[in-house]
Symmetry: C2
Subunit: 410 residues, 2 copies
């Protein structure tokens, strides 16, 4: 598909993608979609009446996606169809469309939506197995419930931040192995978690589960997620109620929300599940996605980032559909803007692990970087960037952009 | 202090209390304060200009407390001072004030605020000890971290519901002790947790901790909380990431938010803490409150409820101040409407336990009710009501009203 906006080869944002985001320009925040190196300003287009008859102006002229997320899939499809029409080479505005586009380098991206509930899963078999081997050496790596339940927990919504936000090294309680008492100090085990999350739209009623074959109605799109973790704080606090301050200091998401529609061509079946899940977790359609993922690290001494991990979202054992069906199986309701992260995505190979905990085996085998430096966990001044893109033979490449964050000293 | 509104003896809502809530009447939702058996309609008073010069009309004319919570303590003090003035016997509106009050029985209460992040603590020593004895018999009841950290976890905000909302028995995965595989079925171990929560107001910046001696700036007020729990679902899911669907199906709060100002006269020192907490958890002022609490159960066969537990909020080991200082110690920011629940409040005596798990020792010693029935856990049709009130010699009684919920069949 061709657009009248130039799309450089290999760009994350061809006409087939059109992810949504919120951007600030001249002091005003509006929503737009990414196309090539530009943003198509949906608010400006709405002001000009270009969405009249397709969706309400107030939904598209808003400063974030909240109003759009509060509608439902028919509206999302209609709006997307109209945007494709307006941006395609044969568009009626192709000749004078430049007034509606602005270069991405001239805008500041803002949080695309208000986060409702934030849930983080633990759905990669390789990650859960690695963590079991590291934390309970000698024992059975997977706990008995893992192959029956998409294990997860609620995280903190107020600290979900956008790509580019610096992350201050958190202080917290930790108990050094040789100490009898805990100390309160900056974390010495600051880690990343390479994840993909999905964002919900629409509402369901309190007390009413959402069947797995209806999750399409509420999964609006996907973002990259870096679930920053302080492993020493987490280790001391997590019994018996789970991760808390070791996670809650920051979670970064990409600026662009890639829609379910854009990802449709990259849907793939997940790994075979053994044992077969209970009926409420068995869906008709595949719900994994062939999305390549990579983590890059740039230390203060490096000129360019170094790739430290490559993996793929298709590796997930529990799918997004199973996660959402599970969360709502007890009657929990869905609200617009809820964010569900996959949990760390690790593949079978060592350099496919999505956390430093696994890449360095709890810091015991530090990464040797091209700069001559070594890393067990993150140091101040380190910049971590996660990227994701779908690229399957015969189909265009579409990407998520990036989620990036620099570590500031405590 | 006397009001021109009649306050019956023993009522929860004298002029010294004035808790805030949101109420619907004739299809319109506004905020008000409880006084006697009435609601003082803040929106109507604002429309008449009675708050001009004290606070902005749009804050007081709103359909919930969100805008008020987004301001700060000086505004809260000023508004409270003005409401006291307007409702006192010497008020300029004493003669014609009836236009601003409406009987509580003529209104429907609504969620008082939009819940931001919801955190549930585990801060009662007796409760944590009992749970340890029940779940790990023979071992040390308290885990090594418990006396160092206010242990807690993030819960689900979308399922925080107001007093009176029926609660549907959740379905979920559980593994019966004699089974090899889990089943998906209605919980057979539905429980209550008797708690008190605090609601925050104002904002703090991402990455900046709130020192313990400044928590007064952000603790707006307190509510009763019933943290409904499905013990069998919880037992199967909670390793290693903590409670999830066993808790997330419903959390009920009282309709009225009792302000920190109203509770000031009932501030008491907490229990001595041994070992002494780390410096960031040591506050100058006491932060426990002498609030009597009770849980009542009415089964479908009863004419009147039976009290099943009595305890006191002053029993908490970790105070609200310590909880908030802890949560923000890693840089987590505060937003208006965040809700922090105490965790189950249990006293030392058997009938002072705040959950059926403890009252019946995991169902092994069912409660014998006056109706001749027995209860291990809740049955369909059971109605649980929690009440709380402060009453110290020489001071007026102020109360929280109630939080009540009926169990509907799965």
């Amino acid at each position: 598909m061709l657009s009248w906006v130039e799309v450089p080869p290999g760009c994350d944002f061809p006409l087939e993608n059109l992810p949504y985001g919120a951007f600030e320009r001249n002091g005003r925040v509006r929503i737009g979609v990414a196309i090539g190196d530009f943003v198509f300003d949906l608010g400006a287009a709405a002001d000009a009446g270009l969405f009249d008859g397709f969706t309400e102006r107030e939904i598209v002229s808003a400063p974030n996606l909240d109003r759009l997320l509060a509608t439902s899939r028919p509206t999302w499809r209609r709006l997307r169809g109209r945007i494709v029409e307006l941006l395609s080479a044969s568009s009626p505005i192709a000749g004078n469309g430049s007034q509606y586009v602005v270069a991405q380098r001239d805008v500041q991206m803002r949080m695309p939506f208000t986060v409702g509930d934030y849930v983080d899963f633990y759905s990669s078999l390789e990650h859960a197995t690695n963590m079991g081997k590291i934390l309970r050496p000698g024992g059975e790596p997977l706990l008995p419930n893992w192959r029956h339940i998409p294990i997860g927990y609620h995280g903190r919504s107020s600290t979900v931040v956008i790509d580019g936000t610096p992350v201050r090294r958190p202080r917290g309680q930790r108990k050094p192995p040789d100490a009898t008492l805990p100390v309160f100090a900056p974390t010495a085990a600051l880690d990343i978690e390479l994840e993909v999350g999905f964002v919900t739209g629409g509402h369901t009623d309190f007390g009413i589960p959402l069947p797995i074959d209806r999750v399409d109605e509420h999964i609006f799109g996907f973002v990259l997620v870096n679930d920053w973790s302080a492993r020493d704080i987490q280790a001391w606090e997590y019994q018996p109620l789970g991760p808390f301050l070791g996670k809650s200091f920051a979670t970064s998401i990409s600026a662009w929300v890639v829609t379910l529609e854009a990802l449709e061509p990259y849907r793939v079946a997940g790994a075979a599940q053994d044992p077969q899940p209970l009926p409420y977790l068995r869906g008709e359609q595949p719900y994994n996605f062939d999305v390549h993922l990579q983590a890059e690290l740039r230390t203060a001494r490096m000129d360019a980032p170094e790739i430290i991990a490559r993996t793929n979202f298709r590796e997930m054992y529990w799918s997004a559909a199973q996660q959402l069906a599970h969360v709502t199986s007890n009657g929990s309701n869905i609200q617009p803007g809820d964010l569900y992260a996959s949990g760390t995505i690790s593949g079978p190979a060592e350099r496919s692990y999505g956390s430093l905990m696994e890449l360095t085996w709890r810091g015991q085998r530090p990464l040797k970087l091209r700069s001559g430096e070594a890393r067990g966990f993150l140091e101040d001044g380190d910049v971590v960037t996660l990227r994701g893109w779908a690229k399957t033979e015969g189909k265009p490449r579409i990407g998520f952009g990036r989620v990036c964050g620099e570590i500031l000293p405590a």
